[in-house]
């Protein structure tokens, strides 16, 4: 498990609403699989993608699995960098209160809960994306 390998910076861009297309669910599944390879992973939610992280989703009416609960498991998969674009939230009349509080437990700090969701402005986000080795868009 502790072998030294090449670690690249992978960024998963999520720009689409959670339901109606398969992009959001596919992205989440790819992220969960990729997490096994010990790479440096960031997730970005922008445009309608910010809706993927909203609280209290109810999919009963559309007969799809409510996979929004799975985002809270990302911390268990050591995914600690989840960026939400500030402007996208504002344009949709959303605030951080509308989003799930995503956290991870720091094993090296007596399992203290720490935030893994960060709201960042467009400029900062573009810097973050520029630093990546691989950007995958969904």
């Amino acid at each position: 498990m502790e072998e030294e390998g090449i670690v690249k910076k992978f960024c998963y861009m999520n720009r689409k609403a959670p339901y109606g297309t398969i992009y959001a669910l596919e992205s989440l599944e790819v992220v969960l699989i990729a997490a096994a390879f010990d790479q440096d992973i960031s997730l970005v939610f922008a445009d309608d993608g910010v809706y993927q992280l909203t609280k209290n989703q109810d999919t009963d009416g559309i007969g799809m699995k409510n996979f929004s609960k799975t985002y809270s498991a990302l911390g268990d998969y050591d995914i600690k960098k989840i960026y939400v674009e500030k402007e996208s939230l504002e344009e949709r009349g959303l605030t951080t209160d509308d989003l799930q509080a995503l956290k991870y437990e720091d094993e090296d700090d007596d399992w203290a809960e720490k935030d893994s969701l960060f709201v960042v402005g467009r400029d900062e986000l573009s810097k973050i994306i520029n630093e990546q080795d691989v950007v995958l868009s969904f």
Partner: protein, 110 residues
């Protein structure tokens, strides 16, 4: 190939995973284990019940690495290691225990 338990027939996929997780009940886990030539102890049930709770909360079956870490946190370090879990579930803790728990095959499990 449907699974016959207590006179009831349950649909499974080609690898023996239960098609509808809402149909699950403890007797199904026992029957699957018997078919694999195994007997479920209390230690097996701890893991199976843990997986069911994890699925209920997060809607996914955890990858084996995640399972190991989470079991270690919940049940102690002597149980949160691959050796212990592989002894209980020699076909792979995530894969085999998830099957007995009536959950889909874990995402990313090949």
């Amino acid at each position: 190939m449907p699974l016959e338990v207590n006179g009831q027939s349950y649909e499974t996929d080609e690898e023996g995973y239960l098609a509808d997780l809402n149909q699950w009940q403890p007797d199904l886990a026992e029957a699957m284990a018997t078919a694999d030539g195994a007997e479920l102890s209390e230690n097996h049930w701890e893991v199976i019940n843990f997986l069911r709770e994890y699925y209920e909360e997060y809607q996914i079956a955890p990858a084996v690495r995640v399972l190991t870490k989470a079991i270690g946190k919940k049940l102690g370090k002597d149980k949160g290691n691959s050796k212990y879990l592989y002894e209980l579930f020699p076909y792979g803790p995530a894969k085999q225990a998830c099957k007995y728990a009536g959950l889909p095959k874990p995402t990313g499990c090949v």
